[in-house]
Each structure stands twice: as C-alpha cells, then as structure tokens.
C-alpha cells in the first residue's frame, strides 16, 4: 500500500492557505492573464495543514480596506462575506479592575470608520473560492514538513509530513509516507513564526535587524441576544489587566446583531514568569467596561495565535533563490493598530505580480524575485511600517514611554524617534521571580458560560489531534527543562493558552492534542527549549468563524 512515489510537479507552490498565500495566487494568475500573452499560465498549488480552508486562521477582525487594492474588483469587494462595517468606535483606557477612562476622540492613525468587520475564516474561504475560479489548486490536510533544495541552495519544493505513525513513530496500518512536490518557486505563507519560514531565515541568512517580537492573541466569539443596533460598534482598550511594562490590549467587535468578537493581546516580552495570559483574558472580560458590552452573551468559539509585533525592524529579507515570504511570516503587521490582514494581502499582491514577471522571464532567482520587496517598499504598506516602526518597542519599558513614542510618531508622521529602539527576543525577557514571591496566582475569576475556564475554551476551539502519533512538541533538552521548573516554576503551564503543558511529579507532561498551533511555547520558553513542528496533516484547531 505504500508505493514509493515519483515527486509531484507544479510551477508555483504556496505553503499555507491563509490570506497572504491566497492573495499571491490570485494576483499571480490575474497578472498572467493580463500580460502573459500566449504563454501557458503557471500551475499553482496551495498546501494547507488544516483539515478545511480557514480552520487555522484567526484575527479580530477589522479590515483596513486597502487590503483589496489591486486585488479585487468592485463587484468582488461588494460580495465580501461581511455583515457589518464600523459605524461607531471607541478607545478606552482601563485604569484598574473597575475604573476606565474613555478617550474623547480616536486618534486619526487608529480610526477605522467604515471598515468591514467580521470573520477571517469567512474572508479566507471567499478568497480561496476566487483563487480556485482562476485555476489555483488548494489541498487541505497536508503539512509542509521540510523544504527541498538543490546543490546551489535554491529552494525547489517541499516534502509533506508523514501520516499514520504511532506514538513511537512506527508506521500504522494506514501509514502514508511523506510526498515530495517540486516547484519553480515556493511561497511561504505560513503565518506568524512559521515552521519552514523561521528555518529558512536562518538557513539563508535573511535575518532582520532586530529579532521578531510577538504578542499572544486570545479570542472568543460571543453569541449575543439579537440587537441590530449593536452591529458595527467596536471598542479597543489598553491598560488593565496588563502591567505597565507590557503591551497589552483588548478589543470588542460587534460584527452582527447576534455575534460579538472579543479578544485580548498580550506582549510576549513580559518578564514575570507567573504571568498567565488566559487568566488575564478572563480578568479583562470581567472589567465593567467590557462586561457591559457582552451582557447576556455566551462564549461559543475560542482560539489563540501569536501576532508579530516587531514591525519594520523585524521584517526579514523576503526573497531568496526559489522562495518568497509573505504575510505574518514576514512580520508584515502594523504594530500600532495590530492590523496585518491588509499587509498580508498586499504583500501577496506584490509577490504575485513579481512571480508573474518571473514566470514570463523563466527566472526565479533571488535577484528576479527581489522585485517583490522593491514593490512592497514603494507601497503604502511600507509607509505605514515606517511610521510606526518605533511605537512598539518603548512599551516594553513603560506604558508612558510607549504612549510618548506613539504620540511622537503621530505628530511627526514617523520621523521621531529616528533611531532603532532595541528589543530583546521574547524568551530572553523572562526574569526569575524575586525571592519569597509566590509564583502561582490562583484563578480569581468565576467560571460562567460567558467566561469559561481554559479547558472549556480549548474544547470550543474544536482542536483535535490523533493521539496515537509522535508528539509534535519537542522539549529539546530535559535537563534544561528541570532547571526551568526549578528556577521559573515551569512558565509553560501558564503561557500556553491551551493547557498543553502540565507539571506533574516534578516533570512536564505534554498534552499535545490540545495544541492550537499558536507557537507561544516556541517563542516564550525562557531557555528556547521547546520546538514546535507540524503534527499529522489535518490535525489542529477547527476554527469555523474566527
């Protein structure tokens, strides 16, 4: 049953069917149609590790409509699967657990009036449909485990992960071996902290000037009592329950009369090992300014992912021989507004146009593909990245510095501060607790249908992994792990938003089937001692309305 197979062939291969990859495919096929002449259109294959399109995407989401520029026509924009656009917005500073302060006006840089709001899963499915209509092929349930390169170091394809291995990595009766697919160019659209992307950046020395900084974003979908007047209202918060040295903020988007998106993002450069982002999320929900917004609601879906917040200084080189990086994986995100969808889609657009030209020239070298980076640098995406390039970093020192930097950037259109504010990698930011300080913070928030505990949340994410497979989370060195338990009281049991890591009898146990593929553990383990690898294709969360 396990016949060794010939490598599969395509022209362009995209890894990950998120909005960045899909925009790349769409722009490429359309650009080719426009200027390709008689030349045959390239075959475009998109691999997606989740079971169905959109199952692993997560965002707020309020979309900056510049996302669609040059990608979708008016009719396609009109048919976007959104139920509402922003009609009223507010910005709120939560002073402490009870008090809040509404900013009387929303700063212009943050304004979102008229922007479409809704589910990223739906948008992703819509884009996938447009791509398929152009001839792109999307295959779900296939994780790209490794890339393939030739002797010169050119990327020539990927190898999918094996399926049907048992927990000892021995083949089961339905074992399906890895498959190779070769392509002229590989587009990495894996999302933040991508499995291949991060390794490729190391391998090809594509490093940015500053390591990437992430936030962990946690989100719930709340089902609300019917009220058409609510739809279109959005609220952003900062302050409580984050401390003054951590960039943390929340959002509430009333996307329809009966559905509200609620989320909380917390900078992973926090220093206290006792921090529990999920508990902070729950505390956030009990703040009167927030609780009032979701009164009578019930949490029905849950998810988490990391957000690349490093900004301009953390954007790596985006092209190498035979490969391109698009979207979140390339750190393309406005770290003031925490908006990345428009940048992901626009990066896809420029990548697609560069690929169309490369296809005509029959040249996928780094030099040729660098046209993508050039176009991106000349676009509004880059202007935005430059404007807020130093807004995120000062927040790690103190909220006051952060606000000052944001103000300075706003007043001078990004000219100030002109230097690169330094940031250390997230995992290095963790400090051992001060002696005598209690490490564990007990859950203080009451569990209700509106504010469920972490395991109930995990259940609502729909995540599922075949448990008889090798664990996809690797503790690189058990000795270091023991040291971390001793020194930091195993922060993995708290920073994981899915309760994957459990301390029992002095050892860390990994319940990998809870995993939401958010990568927080790989980013925040203080010793960088955890490696995330893709599990069996098709496994993972099943977001259907994120």
């Amino acid at each position: 049953m396990t016949r060794p197979s010939e490598p599969l062939q395509t022209d362009i291969l995209c890894v990950g069917a998120g909005v960045a990859s899909l925009s790349t495919a769409l722009a490429l096929l359309r650009a080719h149609k426009k200027s390709g002449g008689d030349r045959l259109a390239p075959r475009v294959v998109i691999l997606e590790k989740s079971r169905a399109i959109g199952n692993h995407v997560l965002s707020g989401s309020v979309i900056d409509p510049s996302a669609f520029d040059g990608l979708l026509d008016e009719e396609e924009i009109r048919r976007l699967p959104y139920e509402a656009s922003v009609t009223s917005e507010a910005f709120c500073f939560l002073l402490d657990a009870r008090r809040s302060f509404s900013i009387p006006w929303v700063p212009k840089m943050m304004r979102a009036h008229g922007y479409p709001i809704g589910s990223l899963t739906k948008l992703t499915r819509y884009l996938a449909m447009l791509c398929e209509a152009q001839g792109a092929e999307i295959y779900c349930g296939f994780a790209a485990a490794e890339w393939i390169e030739d002797e010169s170091g050119r990327i020539t394809g990927v190898r999918t992960g094996p399926r049907g291995l048992d927990r000892e990595a021995k083949p089961k009766s339905n074992f399906a071996p890895p498959e190779e697919i070769h392509a002229r160019a590989v587009v990495l659209g894996e999302g933040a902290c991508g499995h291949l992307t991060e390794r490729l950046i190391d391998r090809c020395k594509l490093h940015a000037r500053r390591p990437q900084s992430y936030a962990l974003g946690i989100k719930e979908v709340i089902e609300m009592p019917d009220d058409p007047d609510r739809a279109g209202g959005i609220l952003h918060t900062f302050g409580h329950p984050a401390d003054t040295r951590t960039y943390g903020g929340g959002f509430i988007y009333h996307v329809s009369a009966t559905q509200t998106m609620l989320g909380y993002a917390y900078g992973l450069d926090y220093s206290r090992p006792e921090t529990d982002p999920h508990e902070l999320f729950r505390r956030f929900k009990t703040h009167p300014a927030i609780a009032r917004q979701i009164e009578g609601g019930k949490a029905v879906a849950y998810g988490a992912k990391v957000i690349p917040e490093g900004g301009l200084f953390s954007v790596p080189e985006l092209a190498t021989d035979g490969a391109l990086i698009v979207g979140d994986g390339g750190g393309l995100l406005d770290s003031l507004r925490i908006k990345g969808i428009h940048m992901a889609m626009q990066s896809g657009r420029f990548a697609g146009e560069a690929l169309a030209a490369a296809w005509l020239a029959d040249d996928f070298s780094r030099d040729r593909l660098s046209a993508y980076g050039k176009a991106l640098r000349a676009s509004p995406v880059w202007t935005q990245l430059e404007r807020v390039r130093n807004v995120r970093a000062p927040f790690s020192k103190h909220t006051v510095f952060g606000l000052a930097a944001a103000g300075a950037a706003w007043a001078t259109r990004g000219a100030l501060p002109w230097w690169m504010v330094r940031m250390e990698p997230d995992h290095a930011a963790m400090r051992p607790p001060r002696p005598g300080r209690a490490l564990r913070t007990e859950a203080t928030v009451e569990t209700t249908p509106l504010n469920p505990d972490r395991l109930t949340d995990v259940f609502m994410s729909g995540t599922i992994h075949d448990e008889d497979q090798p664990c996809h989370l690797h503790i690189l060195d058990r000795k270091t792990c023991e040291e971390c338990i001793e020194r930091f009281d195993a922060p993995c049991q708290r920073f994981c938003p899915a309760e994957v890591y459990r301390l029992e009898d002095g050892h860390i146990h990994i319940d990998f089937s809870n995993c939401l593929h958010c990568k927080t553990c790989q980013i925040k383990d203080p010793y960088a001692n955890i490696e995330w690898t893709p599990p069996q294709g098709g496994d993972g969360p099943r977001y259907t309305r994120m």
Binding site: M1, S5, L8, V45, L47, A52, E137, Y139, G141, F142, T160, R163, G164, K172, S173, N174, A176, E179, I181, A301, G462, I464, G537, R542, T544, R545
Partner: protein, 265 residues
C-alpha cells in the same frame, strides 16, 4: 468484481447544536464531512481491490456540492464515482433514498457484485439505507461487518460484530454489506491522489438518466414524515470531580460513589 461504495455527506456532528427555540439545526460554523462509517466501507473496498483486484465505484446522493466527498473517495483510490443529484430527490426519506441508489447500482456497468455501506450515517443514525437498497436490488444483506475476504470463485467470508460476540459468515456474491468502524483504519488520501482526481468530471445522474419513477423519488416518494424535531432535555445536576489538584482523592471519591450506587463492587 465491481464494488459500489455508498457514501454520504453529513454535518460534522462534533459541532452541531440545536436551536432551543426553533428546534432546528444551527448550521452556522458547521462543516460537512464524509460520514465516518462510510470511510471504513471505502477502506474495505479498497483493500479487496488491492488483494484480489476489483473496480471500486463511489456513489452519493445529494446536492452538487456533495461531489467533494466523491473526489475524496477517488483521491483515496476509488476508480470512479457517480453523483446522484436531482431536485426531485430532495426531501427523500430512507425509502426513497434506497430506491434511487438501487436504480443507480442497477445502471452501473459492469454489473455490481458487492455494495458496501457504512453501518449508519451520523446525522440520521437510522442504519436503514443499506438494508433498503438490498431489498430493492434483491441482494442478500449482511450488517455490521468488520472484516471481509472474497475468494476467486466469488464466495466471501465476513466477520460481523454482534452484541455478544463475532459471527463468521460465508456467502456468495452478490451482496449488500454494511461496515462497522471496528475494521481496518481508513487510509489517508495522498496528495498525488488529490492532484490526479482534479479536473476529471464526475458524472451526475438524475431522474432521467436513472429512468426512475418520479413518484418514488424525493419527498413524494417518502412514506415517512418528520413531524417534529426536538433536542433532548439538557441533563442537569451531576457531580464534578476536579482531578487536576489531587487526582488520587478524586478517583477515590468516584469509586466510593459508584460502589454506593452498586455500579461497581
């Protein structure tokens, strides 16, 4: 040998909820999948094909978008597929569904020797369509099979799962057999399989192609009616033992509780 495998597209029940006010399925966010039991039937068919050579045809009755599960069946290795789709089939109960599927099996060439079903679909849970098709085809019926071997002379040996044990049954084809999930794990569809099925047309048969009697199809061919759908009352109460802090104490408490109720001694 020609094997027909009947598959059904069903909502992923892991996510299905019923609206407490209207008693209808809440479809928001619910995905469609291939009925899990049917995957085991398909696996049995593919194993027979691998071991003794056969042609495997996948069949489904449903709206045009149900073709996606036929592609999945072909990606896993089925040689062909037919979609049974017609507005006239809408609203069919198990009787009318069985009639249409039997008509399609009669039309398949070469003559079908073996028809495989999953033991039931996870949406309706009736387990009636397999038996219904066997009646319409006048093929002998065997249910709850977990293993199946066919010899060169067309005699088969099947193990079927009963409440109190396993029966080993020998018979002669043709037959209709329903398969349980205590059989070989379904294979994964390889990427090569998916890429190969792309582009190929899947034939779609309606009332005309099947030469079916319209009065026997769909809602009008259905002798049963759904009078009411309701969610069973939500169970209340119950005791929750949190084993995360002191697992040993929680186990102790559960054992005490169960022995007091006489469940264990």
């Amino acid at each position: 040998m020609h094997i027909a495998v009947c598959v059904k597209q069903v909502p992923d029940t892991a996510n299905v909820r019923i609206d407490p006010e209207t008693n209808t399925l809440m479809r928001e966010g619910v995905e469609s999948i291939i009925n899990p039991y049917d995957e085991y039937a398909l696996e049995q068919a593919l194993r027979l094909r691998d071991s003794c050579g056969a042609r495997v045809t996948a069949l489904t009755m449903g709206p045009p978008q149900a073709a996606v599960i036929l592609r999945e069946a072909m990606a896993r290795g089925a040689d062909g597929a037919v979609l049974l789709s017609d507005r006239a089939f809408a609203g069919a109960d198990t009787w009318a569904t069985s009639y249409v599927i039997a008509q399609a099996i009669k039309k398949l060439k070469p003559k079908v020797d073996l028809v495989l079903f999953g033991k039931q679909a996870i949406d309706g849970d009736t387990a009636q369509v397999g038996p219904g098709v066997s009646e319409f085809l006048k093929y002998p019926l065997l249910t709850y099979a977990r293993d199946l071997q066919v010899a060169a002379d067309g005699r088969y040996t099947a193990e079927t799962l009963m409440d109190d044990g396993v029966e080993v049954i020998e018979g002669e084809l043709p037959a209709v057999i329903t398969v349980v999930k205590e059989s070989a794990a379904p294979r994964f569809a390889p990427l090569a399989g998916w890429m190969a099925t792309r582009g190929g047309e899947i034939p779609s048969w309606g009332v005309k192609q099947l030469k079916a009697v319209p009065d026997l199809c769909g809602l009008q061919g259905s002798p049963t009616r759904v009078v009411k759908i309701f969610a069973p009352p939500v169970k209340s109460g119950g005791t929750r033992m949190d084993g995360r802090v002191q697992p040993a104490a929680a186990v102790e408490a559960i054992v005490t509780l169960l022995s007091r109720k006489g469940v264990v001694s």
